[in-house]
């Protein structure tokens, strides 16, 4: 069969053509094309990886600042809390001290007042006693100027004694 018998001429020309084509395309086409493709791919890869790196760096920085912020916030809160506590403590302490002091002062004042009152009362009592004696003296003097009256009085007094 002709159709499955390779003809020598075509075998010859195909071999030459293919080898020539392989050489020419290899030299003038595939080499520069593959080189360009590889280079471009490498540069793309590099760009991608550097972008990735930059992203990571950014994320890291972000994270750091976030962390810092968080820490700062916590610190602030802590400080505020402490300050508040301190203030409360101080106030409470002051209040307590004041109370104690006030109580003390009130106590003192009371004692003083009592003392003063007692002194005043004693004075008044003395005064009243002196006055009473004076008045009684004066009354008695007046009353007993007269003899009859003295007698009446004694009588009265005696009466009273009897009755009691």
């Amino acid at each position: 069969m002709d159709i499955v018998t390779p003809s020598l001429g075509l075998v010859f020309w195909t071999s030459i053509s293919f080898l020539l084509l392989l050489f020419l395309l290899g030299k003038f086409a595939w080499k520069p094309i593959m080189k360009a493709l590889d280079e471009r791919e490498r540069s793309i890869e590099e760009a991608l990886s550097s972008a990735e790196k930059a992203k990571e760096e950014l994320a890291r920085l972000n994270n750091e600042s976030e962390q810092l912020l968080k820490e700062a916030r916590a610190e602030r809160d802590l400080i505020l809390k402490e300050a508040k506590q301190l203030r409360d403590n101080t106030i409470a302490e002051a209040k307590g001290l004041a109370q104690v002091e006030a109580n003390k002062m009130i106590e003192k004042a009371k004692v003083e007042i009592d003392n003063q009152k007692n002194a005043a009362l004693a004075e008044v009592k003395n005064q009243v006693a002196t006055l009473s004696i004076d008045i009684a003296e004066k009354v008695l003097r007046k009353q007993l100027e007269d003899k009859s009256k003295q007698e009446n009085l004694v009588a009265d007094l005696l009466k009273e004694v009897k009755l009691s």
């Binding site: 520069p32 593959m34 493709l37």
Partner: protein
């Protein structure tokens, strides 16, 4: 209506159905039968007679006698020493012969479509079914001397191959220069059409099969892929610059297969050869295993050769057969059916053109891959 016109070898290409419809109605178109030197005059005469008589029954007989679908189809898928364009016009390609007395070179036009004998420097030649024969002084064919000559003519297929080489060179040098001009930039224009295909060959064919050693074989794989693909496509074009059935020619596929075989075995490493000659079986199985392995090595390129040849040839035969239906049924009414099926087949063949180039390259990469693969732990 001159239906006898259909039965001539005016099917200059298997897909020119439109041209067939037009030409078939042209008066005088039917008078020539080419490549049948002895019958030529006789048939032309009888055609003239039939035209005169215009009898349907004799027409049918005449057609019976003249139209031989299988002959026509085989003629169209075979190589040829001149490139038929249309009607009587064909491009005469140079004939180059290597004889025992030296080279011989003349135009195929001298054969006058096989009617004439050519007196060369060393012998007198005749052409018979595209085979060049040496003719003795008395006009008989000298079979002894005919066998001794080597026909390395620039045939239709060779021309078609040169055309494909020019196309490939133009395409890829321009693409390569685009890469140089636009270094590091995104592809543009034609470059962006070609680049995905190159990347496809690299990423889908070379890398999975060859691993990190792919770069060394890229030029070879790319050349094989594009050479086969472009020639497949040129083979599908029905008119002049196309139409040669190069990739469906066994000589072409044999060369491609043998080159693959050589590349595979030249690059075969120690473990590849060890696998063939010292397979991992008990020693007494060697007499069986070694021949089997050797057959395996030979059958790989053989499968490549036959696959490409059979696929492309089969496609062309189907298309030609569908066109031949018109002439077998002798009615133009069948033409829409033929054309419909031919259209379908052509689209399918476009796919096959790519697919076969892909498979050939893929298997080549696979074979080379097994030859250069690092030995596994268990082997």
């Amino acid at each position: 209506m001159r239906r006898s016109g259909f039965f001539t070898k005016k099917l200059n290409s298997f897909l020119m159905f439109s041209a067939i419809f037009c030409f078939s109605f042209l008066p005088g178109y039917s008078n020539e039968v080419e490549n049948h030197s002895e019958n030529h005059a006789e048939i032309a005469d009888s055609a003239a007679v039939h035209e005169g008589v215009n009898s349907d029954s004799s027409h049918a007989e005449h057609g019976e006698e003249k139209f031989n679908a299988s002959e026509l189809i085989l003629e169209h898928i075979a190589d040829s020493h001149d490139w038929h364009l249309w009607g009587h016009t064909s491009v005469h390609l140079p004939i180059i012969l290597y004889t025992d007395k030296g080279f011989e070179c003349f135009s195929s036009g001298k054969f006058n479509h096989g009617h004439d004998k050519v007196v060369g420097k060393h012998y007198t030649y005749a052409i018979e079914h595209e085979h060049i024969k040496v003719v003795n002084a008395d006009g008989t064919i000298n079979e002894e001397a005919s066998k001794a000559i080597v026909d390395i003519s620039i045939t239709k297929n060779v021309m078609s191959m040169f055309l494909s080489m020019i196309i490939l060179m133009l395409i890829f040098t321009s693409v390569a220069s685009a890469y140089k001009k636009r270094e590091g930039k995104a592809p543009k224009g034609f470059q962006s059409l070609i680049e995905p295909i190159i990347l496809f060959v690299r990423d889908e064919i070379a890398k999975p099969n060859l691993g990190y050693k792919y770069a060394r074989f890229m030029p070879f794989l790319l050349t094989i892929f594009f050479f086969i693909w472009v020639n497949n496509i040129i083979g599908l074009v029905p008119f002049f610059p196309g139409g040669a059935n190069l990739t469906g020619n066994i000589a072409f596929t044999v060369v491609m297969g043998v080159i693959t075989f050589i590349v595979t075995n030249v690059n075969g490493n120690k473990s590849y050869w060890k696998h063939i000659f010292l397979p991992h079986v008990p020693w007494w199985l060697y007499p069986i295993m070694i021949p089997v392995e050797i057959i395996g090595v030979l059958s790989k390129p053989f499968a490549l050769i036959v696959r490409l040849f059979a696929n492309i040839t089969a496609g062309h035969i189907i298309v030609l057969s569908l066109i031949c239906l018109i002439f077998i049924f002798k009615t133009i009414m069948i033409a829409p059916v033929s054309v419909g099926f031919v259209l379908f087949m052509d689209v399918l063949e476009l796919l096959v053109a790519f697919l076969q180039a892909f498979i050939f390259t893929m298997l080549t990469a696979l074979f080379i891959g097994t030859a250069v693969a690092e030995p596994h732990g268990d082997h």
